[in-house]
C-alpha cells in the first residue's frame, strides 16, 4: 500500500516539524498571476543593459544561469575607492558582454557572439554596503532545517549571469572572473538550467515552479516598490536546496499533489480545476476535508499580505546532487522572503525531500545609464 505509507509520511513530516525549509512552487492568489513577459531581446539576441533597473530581474527567464559569488580582497588605501573601481570594471564588462563584445583584454572575444540574451545582474552583500557606507539589507537568518555548506554561503559580491545558450554564458562568467582575479576569491559558481515556459518551469520534482509569480505592475511593485533599500534597486535571496529525488520517486501522484497543494500534471490548485484558479485554503474536498492541506507547500507559501509578495526566478541544478537554486527578488526581504521562509522551514510537507545547503542575501544595485557605473548612486560622485 504505497499510498498509505506516503500519507503517513506526510503527516509525520508535519507533526515532527522535520522542517528543512523550501519554497519551491506557486503561492499567492490566482488573480495576482500573469504569464511571464515575452523576452525583451532585440532581433540580434541582445537584451538591454542600460536602464532604470538592471536586466535579469523583471524580464523573462533565460534557459541557463550561473550565480557566481566572490569575497573581495583589499589593498592598502580606501576600500570605498577599491569597490568603486571594481564596480566600474564590472559595469564595463557587463555592457560589453551584453552587446556581444569581449571584455577589455579578452582573449576569446568571439565567444561573446551570438548574443544569447545574456544578462548580468550585480548585487552586493551587506559587507560591501558597509564599505560603501550606505544601505541596509542585513543577512538571512538561519532557518529551521538549514544544513548550510560554507561554499554556498553569503559572499561580498554576487553576479547572476543568465543566457539562452551555454557557450556565451560560460564565456561571460570566465571573462568577468579573469578580470576579478586578484581582486577577490570566487567562492562559488552555481550553474542552473530550466526549460522556460509561459507558466514557469518544471523543477526536478516535476512540479511547475513560478505559476503564481506576480506579473506586470504587481511584479514591478513587489520587486522595486518603496520602501526599499535604495531607489530602483532591490534584493535577491539566493538559496540552494538539494532534492532527495530517490525518496521522491517513492511518492505516488496523490501524495505528491497533496504535499504541494497543486496537481503536478497541470499546476491546478487542489482547490480548483485549472492552473489559473486561486489557491483557496477554505475549500473542502468531497470528504469535507480541506482540499489543500494546512502543511501543503502552497498553503504556507501563499502571501499573507501584498507585502509578502516576491518574484521568483530560480533554476534547477544537477551534478553531485540535484535540486533547486531558489532565487527571489523582493523590495524588502524582512517583510516577504524571511517570514515566508520561516513558515515553510517550520512545516512545509515538501521539507521531507529538501535539504537547504546554501543561503545568501544581496542588495541588487539600481540600473545604470550610459556613461555611469553600477553602484554610482550608492558610492556617490567622485
Amino acid at each position: 500500500m504505497p499510498g498509505t505509507s506516503v500519507d503517513r509520511r506526510l503527516l509525520l513530516g508535519t507533526t515532527a516539524a522535520a522542517a528543512l525549509g523550501g519554497m519551491l512552487t506557486g503561492f499567492g492568489t490566482g488573480k495576482l498571476s500573469a504569464p511571464a513577459p515575452a523576452a525583451t531581446a532585440n532581433p540580434q539576441g541582445y537584451r538591454p543593459f542600460y536602464g532604470k533597473y538592471q536586466s535579469g530581474i523583471l524580464d523573462g527567464q533565460q534557459a541557463h544561469a550561473v550565480f557566481a559569488g566572490w569575497d573581495l580582497h583589499w589593498r592598502e588605501g580606501s576600500k570605498k575607492e577599491q569597490l568603486r573601481a571594481v564596480l566600474q570594471m564590472i559595469t564595463d564588462d557587463a555592457a560589453r558582454l551584453a552587446s556581444g563584445r569581449g571584455v577589455l583584454a579578452d582573449t576569446e572575444p568571439e565567444m561573446a557572439q551570438p548574443g544569447g540574451e545574456l544578462t548580468l545582474t550585480v548585487g552586493l552583500g551587506q559587507s560591501l554596503l558597509d564599505v560603501a557606507g550606505r544601505g541596509q539589507i542585513g543577512t538571512l537568518p538561519r532557518f529551521a532545517g538549514d544544513q548550510l555548506d560554507e561554499q554556498y554561503g553569503q559572499c561580498d559580491l554576487l553576479i547572476q549571469f543568465c543566457a539562452q545558450e551555454q557557450t556565451v554564458l560560460h564565456h561571460a562568467v570566465r571573462a568577468v572572473s579573469k578580470n576579478l582575479r586578484g581582486l577577490g576569491a570566487r567562492r562559488f559558481a552555481q550553474t542552473g538550467f530550466i526549460n522556460p515556459g509561459g507558466r514557469g518551469f518544471r523543477n526536478l520534482f516535476g512540479q511547475l515552479d513560478g505559476i503564481n509569480n506576480p506579473g506586470g505592475e504587481l511584479r514591478e511593485s513587489a520587486v522595486f516598490g518603496q520602501p526599499g533599500w535604495i531607489e530602483n534597486g532591490t534584493t535577491l535571496a539566493l538559496r540552494r536546496f538539494e532534492m532527495d529525488l530517490d525518496g521522491w520517486d517513492e511518492v505516488d501522484g496523490a501524495g505528491r499533489d497533496h504535499a504541494l497543494g497543486r496537481r503536478q500534471s497541470d499546476g491546478a490548485p487542489l482547490s480548483g480545476a485549472s492552473v489559473d484558479d486561486p489557491v483557496d485554503l477554505a475549500a473542502a474536498n468531497e470528504l469535507g476535508l480541506p482540499a489543500i492541506a494546512a502543511n501543503a507547500h502552497v498553503a504556507l507559501a501563499k502571501p499573507a499580505s501584498a507585502d509578502e509578495t516576491m518574484h521568483r526566478r530560480g533554476y534547477n541544478f544537477d551534478g553531485a546532487a540535484s535540486g533547486l537554486l531558489f532565487a527571489s527578488y523582493q523590495r524588502d526581504p524582512a517583510t516577504s522572503f524571511i517570514p515566508v521562509q520561516h513558515r515553510l522551514a517550520a512545516a512545509d510537507a515538501l521539507n521531507t525531500w529538501l535539504k537547504p545547503v546554501g543561503s545568501g542575501l544581496y542588495a541588487i544595485l539600481p540600473g545604470v545609464r550610459e556613461g555611469g557605473y553600477l553602484g554610482e548612486a550608492l558610492l556617490g560622485q567622485v
Binding site: 588605501g77 575607492e81 573601481a85 576579478l180 557605473y373
Partner: protein, 178 residues
C-alpha cells in the same frame, strides 16, 4: 601651441564607462575629459585602451589610436605622473621567434588610419613601474606628438596572462637591467 583647451571627446564606450575612475595611485579621482593641446593631439581618437596589471617591473599598454585628421600624426613620447619610463615598442620576427624592441623613431599614424597596439604587436612599454598597476584601476598616460602637442588618455588596468614577449637583447639601448 601655448594655449590649452579641454575637449570632451566622443570616445569609445570603454573610456566613457571608466570616465570617473581614479588615477593609477588609486586615490586621486580624475576628470573624465582629456586634456588636449592644439596640434596633432587633437586628431587622436582612442578606443579599447587598457594596460596590463603588474605589481612591479615591466608592463604594457594597448589600444587603438585613430588619426581623425587629413595629415599624418607622429606619436613621439609617452609619460605619466609617476615618472615611469614608457617606450613605444614593436615586435620583430614571427611566431615563437618574435622579440620586441623599442621603435626607432615616431609611431606615425596615417590620415584616417589606426595604430593598433595589441599583445604580440606594437605596444606601450612600462620599463620599471614606480607604482603597481592594480587591476580595475586606471592608468593615465600623456601622449606627446612630434609637433609638441599632447593629450592624456586613460588605460583601464586589467589582468592579462599573455604579453610576456621576450626581448631582443641586442636591439636598442633601452633594455639595460632586464
Amino acid at each position: 601651441m601655448n594655449f590649452r583647451k579641454t575637449t570632451a571627446l566622443a570616445l569609445g564606450l570603454g573610456l566613457l564607462l571608466t570616465g570617473c575612475a581614479q588615477s593609477a595611485d588609486g586615490q586621486q579621482p580624475a576628470p573624465a575629459a582629456e586634456q588636449k593641446t592644439a596640434g596633432q593631439a587633437e586628431a587622436l581618437a582612442t578606443s579599447e585602451t587598457w594596460a596590463k596589471a603588474a605589481e612591479s617591473g615591466m608592463s604594457a599598454a594597448f589600444g587603438i589610436l585613430h588619426n581623425n585628421s587629413g595629415t599624418p600624426i607622429a606619436l613621439r613620447k609617452i609619460s605619466n605622473a609617476q615618472g615611469d619610463q614608457i617606450q613605444i615598442h614593436e615586435m620583430r620576427g614571427t611566431g615563437d621567434g618574435m622579440t620586441m624592441a623599442q621603435l626607432e623613431g615616431d609611431l606615425v599614424i596615417e590620415p584616417g588610419k589606426d595604430a593598433v597596439l595589441a599583445p604580440g604587436g606594437h605596444h606601450l612599454m612600462f620599463m620599471d613601474l614606480q607604482e603597481s598597476l592594480v587591476a580595475a584601476q586606471t592608468a593615465r598616460l600623456k601622449l606627446e606628438f612630434a609637433d609638441g602637442s599632447s593629450t592624456e588618455v586613460d588605460f583601464p588596468i586589467r589582468n592579462f596572462d599573455g604579453a610576456n614577449e621576450s626581448y631582443d637583447e641586442h636591439a636598442g639601448d633601452a633594455h639595460a637591467g632586464h
